[in-house]
Amino acid sequence: MELLFFYIFAAGIVGASLLMVTRANVIHAALSLVLAFLFMAGLFVLAGAEFLAGVQILVYAGGIMVLYLFSIMLMNVGVSIRLRQWHRQSVLALAAALLLAAEIWMVLGRGGYPEARRWPWKLGETPGNVEALGQVLYTKFLFPFEVASMLLLAAMIGAIVLAKRRITR
């Protein structure tokens, strides 16, 4: 049952991402990526990461991707659809990517992973994933957490400075 859902979600993600990479229209690509993210959220729930699934939808789909759409609309992409879409090194790049895929396949084939463990809680229980995650995030990973917030602040200021129109007085 779990495996079946995994295959459904995985197929959805891979399909949507392939769709994303091949679209000429950027908006369509962005929307396909949103679709991929929604499937991915499902996958996360399957893997016992409920909070992460929520964050994936709330922040990624609902935040970052809306930002993308917003910027794309500001930029008038109509022109770029009619231009050549593929870079000159496409063939080489594709070949390299396929080669790498083959190699990773071989690496994964070696296997030898330890036995999977179970979460100490069940999916959907109340003292579960979210509480445990909060416990870890604000104690063990407090410092990375603070660093991440500083990074966000810096990025915010940077984005404002970069995108702001210079007002000449």
Partner: protein, 100 residues
């Protein structure tokens, strides 16, 4: 139970799709989107590992990756917008002032 290799393989496939997108597309926005996909492929891997070992560290780092992705998107898009305003172009291979 889903074997760990499934997660890893999915992550690798997504990563390579993203990488191919970054390398093959000319449009800068497409490149940014592909990078998002690559970041997410790492998330899939992290979540897979977290499940395998029942250890939340993987999920915590997935959260950090999302934070980094938010930064990347904000700054990347800001650069694109100002570039678009100055030069009216979004194709990365035309931005080649470094070459002479």
């Amino acid at each position: 139970m889903i074997p760990l290799t499934h997660f890893l393989a999915l992550g690798a496939i997504l990563f390579l799709i993203g990488a191919a997108g970054v390398l093959m597309r000319r449009n800068a926005i497409m490149i940014l989107l592909s990078i998002e996909l690559m970041l997410n492929s790492v998330n899939v891997t992290f979540v897979g590992f977290a499940r395998q070992w029942a250890d939340l560290t993987g999920q915590v780092f997935a959260i950090f990756i999302i934070a980094v992705a938010a930064c990347e998107a904000a700054v990347g898009l800001a650069i694109l917008i100002s570039l678009n305003r100055d030069r009216q172009m979004v194709n990365v291979d035309e931005i080649n002032l470094l070459k002479w």
